[in-house]
Structures are given as C-alpha cells and as structure tokens.
Amino acid sequence: MEGHQAACMRKALFDQGYLDEQFLQLEDLQDEANPNFVEEVVKLYYTDSARFIRSIELTLDKNPFDFEKLDDIMHQFKGSSSSIGAKKVKRECTQFQEYCKIGNFEGCMRTFQEVKQEHAALKKKLESYLQLARQAR
C-alpha cells in the first residue's frame, strides 16, 4: 500500500544520504493547519533553486571568470538547500565553493555538473515520495 511504500521511500532517502535531519524539521512543522507544508516548501525550493542554477550557468559563461560572484551565488544556493535537508546537494555546493576559493575553473565546472545532477535526482525522488505520501494520507 501507499503508506508502506511511502515509508520505505522515505527511509531510503535518508539512508542513501539524500536527506538529512533538517528534512525531519520540515516534517515536524506539517500539521493540520498546513497539511502540505513539506510539499509546499519543496516546491518553493525547486523554483528558487532553478534561479540559482541559471545564474551560475550565466556566470560560468562569462569572461573573465568571476569566482567571487560564483561563490556568492553558491553560498545562497547552499543555504537554501540546507534548509530543506538536501544533503548531497549541499555537499556538492560546498565542494564548488572550495574550488571557487582556490580559483580552479575546471573544478568548478565539474562540481557544478555534480550539483545539477544531485539537485535533479533529489527532485525526482522527492516528487515521487511526496506524491505517495499524499496519497497515503
């Protein structure tokens, strides 16, 4: 049944390191007043983060390379990601910032791909999970 499936999915997300305890905080906030709180927040995050990703892409295209700006944007993106508990995304963001600090362009490009990948992967998983969870409710 969906409830069980949802629970399994959820557990997997945590076990596989996609989500961390911050996500639990979100779940705790969900109540009768806001029954879809988690879903709303996740949606908001993905809308917002799309902006960050676009912004980074644009900055990566510019010449000369602006590490500082990249670091700045990534900093914000990281903050946002950490607030929903997106563990892997957050980790890649940190890595990206490290490369920015040392001015390693290749490293930045590479890591950015990772960021996007993790970001997209989590999105898919969360969407499936939240859908199941909603149905189970």
Binding site: Q22, Q25, L26, D28, L29, D31, N34, F37, E40, V41, L44, Y45, D48, E68, D71, D72, H75, Q76, K78, G79, S80, S82, S83, I84, G85
Partner: protein, 560 residues
C-alpha cells in the same frame, strides 16, 4: 502590531505572542522560519528585503520585539541592518547565516547582534529567542536607571520598577522605556533636532572616555559605567554607547587589519573582502580600506556623474563649508600635526570637492551606506551638515591615506584632475587652508582610526591600547579622516546620528566606515592592502573610481 501589541491581551504566558520580524531573501528559508516561529506561538512578519524591513520597522516603531535577519541580503548588508536596528531602534537582532566561520560570527557580535544562528535553523533554536528580548530590556532598564542618576534633569519615570518586571510586562516595560527615551530626548531637545546638537566627541571627551574604558577594561566595559566614570553631565548614556560601539568597531577593524598585514602583507584582506562581512571589517580597519573606499568613490568621474551622489556631495559640501567656519572653533585638537604633514600633497593639490562628492556619491557607496540607498541623498544631506567638518576633510584630502600616500599622491593627482568639475573644491581648499582644527570633529573618527600615516600597519600592529593612544594622539591620520569622511558620507547613520546627536558625528565616520566596508566588500572587497587598494578598484563595481575616493576622505578628515 505596533502599539496594539501592547494593548492586545497576551493570552498564555510570555513569550507567546512575541512579535518577530524575519528578514531573509531566501524564500524557502523564510517560509520555513515563519512556520517554525508560528509553531512557537510567536507573531511573525516576514520580509525578503532589508529595505522593506527597515521601512516596516520605521512605520511600526513599537511593533516588533525582535528581529531575525540573514547576513547575506542582496540590497543591503545584513550587518548594516543590524547596526541600524540595534542602535537606532534598540531592538535585539539575531543574525543568521550558512556560514559559521568565527570571523563572521565575531563580526555579527561586534555589530551588536544578540545572537548568531547557523542555518539550517532548527525550531529549538527559535524557541528561546525571547531571552534576548528580556535581556535587552533588563539592560535598558539598568542603563536608564543609572542614566537617571546621572542626569538630574531626567524625568522621573522610574524604569526600574516597571522595567524589571519582565514577566508579562515586557511589553509595558518596553513601552515605558520608549517613553523614557522620549523624555530623555526631550531633555536634550527633540531627538531629531536637539540631540542633533551633535555632541562632538572632542579630544577631552574622548580622553575621558578612553580613560574610563581603560579603567574598566575594554571587554568589561559598558556605556553606563563609562558614563559614570567620565562624569560629564551633559553626556548621555546613548552618546557613550554609540561612541563605544564605534570604538569597538574601529578596534576590531584595526585588529583585523593588523592580522592581515601580519599574515600576508595585506593580500589576505582581499579574501576577507570577497566575503562581504570580511570586507567590511577590513575596510574599517585599515586606512587602506578607506583609501579603497575612497578610491572607489573618488573616481570622480564616475561618481560625480552619479546624480545622487553629486547632489549629495554638493549638498554636503556646502553644508560643510558653511559649517567649516564654525567647525574651526569647535575643533580643539590639532590634527594638523603629523597627519597634515603626511599628506602634504593632499592638501595642496587635490581638489577636495570632487573627492568629497565622490566619496559620497560613489553611488554604490552611498547606497551602501545609506542603508542600501534607502536614504540616499536625503540622508546624506542631513548628515553631512553636522559633519561637515569631516566632509570638508574629505574634500581636503584627496585621497592619500597614510599608507596610500605614496600611491595616493599619484592618484591624487589623477583625482584632482577629475575634480575639476567639483565646484566645491575651491571652497574646500580654502577651508582646508584655514582650518585644520576643524578636523577635530573628525577627531573622534581619528581617534578611532589609525593614526600614523606613514604606515598604517605600524599603527595597527600596536596593541589596541597603543592604537587608542596613537589614534588619540595622531588624530591626523588620514584614516581618521576617512572615518570621519565616511561618516559623513555615510550619513545614513545620520538618521541615527540625528538621534544620537553628538555621538555620531565622529563616530559616524567610524560607523560609516564600517558600512562602507560592508558595501565595499560586496563590491569587490575592500582591499585592506593599502597599495593594492589604491590601485585596485576593489570596490570595483560601483566606483571603479580611483582609490582616491576614499583616501581623500580620510585625508580630509584629518586635515585639521
């Protein structure tokens, strides 16, 4: 909200119903925080722009009990908001950030944050934020009490009784406090007008202040104690508090500068600068920073062209010039000494006018200082008046900052050429020539800034104590000017200044500098390194002006 908060019944026990203002540009975080705070039974208002937050706070003066703000805000640095709110509005402010680096946290604390939370924030951390509200009220009560003792003329409201009963009376306590403050202000005159009398932190006062601070110990000191030790009847606790804060900011700036210098000869500063907060710190501390800011702003052409800057600058200049005359008398210390000598070139060749405006105008700078441009021209004008002295100084000092001097000179010349369009210039020069003393106003700034010009670093390397002395002694430092200058341009602080009157004048410089740095850092980091500063438009973005921009200001201040 607002006053209704006081009257609305608080069902349940405190801290339920605590009115919180949350400021964060990240919508996801904002939503989460809002929900968390609601779960704590607090009354939440959210904002995603600092400007908006400031407006809200202004509109509903007593509408909030506490503010939570993110450090990285796009329109204005969170630290600036922090200073503005913390000092001017006397509300407890909690900073938040993903970045938990000690230096950042330190910066937050130094700017007056009650607490610094790391993101992601958990609800548990929010449950106890009410403690900051209570603590602040307690301190206020204590301060006011002592203030009462010191100020015979104060109204007789006895804050202690009311204020101390926090349980459920926080609101009323606060209200009373506000009333008290109003009364206090009333004594000195209408806050916006009277306090404005601008308590000039002249040398004697500052000396007393320093003495008191040393006696107590910088880290144990509090405005109340200092006030008592100083024994100046006309001085208010607020005056001292703001002066103290500026002083602390100044010291921390210097310290950082010192560290930076020690570490990498100043290059590190760029790191710091790259991160806003860091930048700010650097900016403040080093003259180079100043110079940088100046540079940025100075680039007359760019800056001058900015409408707003120009307006402000001109306004300021005028204000300054007129004030200059008065300033002369006011100034007691003779800044002229070394500082002047150090910047001989400054005085001689550069047209201060433009610089001044530049500094001010640096569009970015202006906006930056003025709480993200909110206040822009308006504020500047106001502010500048009182400080005209500083401004003049700026004008006078084209750029050179002690360190920068060498560089500045060249810049100065560049700047001066640019300055041609500034009308004030002639005036300023005149003023400058006549009156060194007026730098005094800046003294406080000077006091705070590094004095010796030869090498700011040297100054910085001394201990704080030493610095104090140095500063005090060598008011002339261009940095001081810078500080002073910054102050004037930053008059955004003026809003505060106005209320704090005297305190801010010189302090403003310090404070402003602070702000500048903040902005600068955003821009591109203020480069602490003097030489770099000159050359690099660290602030890049907006100013791309010469370094001269700021250095000049500094110089100007110290021109005395």
């Amino acid at each position: 909200m607002g006053s209704s908060g006081f009257s609305s019944p608080r069902s349940g026990s405190f801290p339920e119903g605590l009115r919180v203002l949350v400021v964060d540009d990240d919508l996801t975080c904002l939503k989460i925080l809002e929900k968390m705070l609601k779960k704590c039974n607090y009354k939440v208002t959210t904002c995603n722009l600092t400007r908006e937050a400031l407006d809200l706070l202004q509109e509903r003066k007593d509408g909030f009990d506490i503010v939570i703000c993110d450090v990285n805000m796009p329109d204005m640095d969170g630290f600036k908001l922090l200073e503005h709110v913390g000092i001017k509005m006397d509300l407890p402010v909690i900073m938040m950030s993903v970045d938990g680096e000690t230096s950042r946290v330190m910066k937050g604390i130094q700017h007056g944050a009650c607490d610094y939370l790391l993101k992601p924030i958990r609800i548990k951390e929010l449950q106890n934020i009410w403690q900051h509200v209570v603590r602040k009220r307690m301190h206020e009560a204590r301060d006011i009490e002592s203030q009462d003792e010191n100020q015979m003329t104060r109204n007789g409201k006895e804050p202690s009784d009311d204020r101390c009963s926090f349980s459920g009376d926080i609101v009323s306590g606060k209200k009373r406090k506000t009333v008290e403050n109003k009364h206090r202000h009333g004594e000195h005159g209408d806050p916006s007008s009277e306090k404005k009398a601008r308590l000039l932190w002249n040398v004697e006062l500052h000396q007393k202040f320093m003495k008191a601070v040393h006696q107590i110990g910088l880290y144990k000191v509090g405005p109340k104690k200092i006030l008592e030790l100083m024994g100046v009847p006309s001085l208010t606790r607020e005056n001292v508090a703001s002066h103290l804060q500026k002083y602390r900011l100044y010291l921390s700036r210097l310290q950082k500068e010192n560290e930076l210098k020690a570490a990498s000869g100043g290059l590190k500063l760029s790191d710091i600068y790259s991160k806003e907060p860091a930048g700010n710190v650097c900016l403040q501390s080093s003259m180079s920073q100043n110079s940088l800011t100046v540079q940025r702003s100075v680039h007359g052409h760019d800056i001058m062209n900015h409408n707003h800057d120009a307006k402000i600058c001109n306004a300021n200049v005028k204000g300054i010039l007129s004030v200059a005359a008065e300033a002369k008398t006011a100034l007691s210390t003779d800044m002229t000494g070394p500082a002047l000598s150090s910047n001989p070139r400054i005085s001689s060749s550069h047209s201060f006018g433009p610089l001044h405006s530049e500094v001010r105008s640096a569009p970015k700078i202006d906006t930056q200082y003025s709480w993200s441009g909110g206040v822009p021209s308006f504020q500047f004008k106001q502010e500048i008046r009182p400080h005209f002295q500083s401004e003049q100084l700026f004008d006078h000092l084209p750029l050179p900052m002690p360190q920068l001097q060498a560089d500045c000179v060249s810049h100065n010349s560049t700047c001066s050429s640019k300055e041609t369009d500034k009308p004030i210039e002639p005036n300023i020069n005149l003023y400058y020539a006549q009156n060194r003393s007026h730098v005094k106003v800046e003294n406080t700034a000077a006091l705070f800034s590094v004095q010796p010009e030869p090498f700011p670093c040297s100054v910085w390397s001394t201990t704080n104590q030493g610095l104090e002395q140095n500063l005090y002694d060598n008011v002339e430092c261009p940095e001081k000017n810078l500080i002073a200058g910054m102050g004037s341009s930053l008059r955004l602080w003026d809003e505060e200044c106005i209320s704090y009157q005297g305190d801010f004048s010189p302090l403003d410089a310090g404070g402003l500098v602070h702000i500048e740095s903040v902005d600068c850092s955003n821009q591109g980091g203020l480069i602490a390194d003097a030489p770099n500063f000159h050359n690099s438009v660290n602030f890049e973005c907006d100013y791309h002006s010469d370094q001269m921009g700021y250095p000049v200001i500094d110089q100007g201040l110290f021109i005395t």
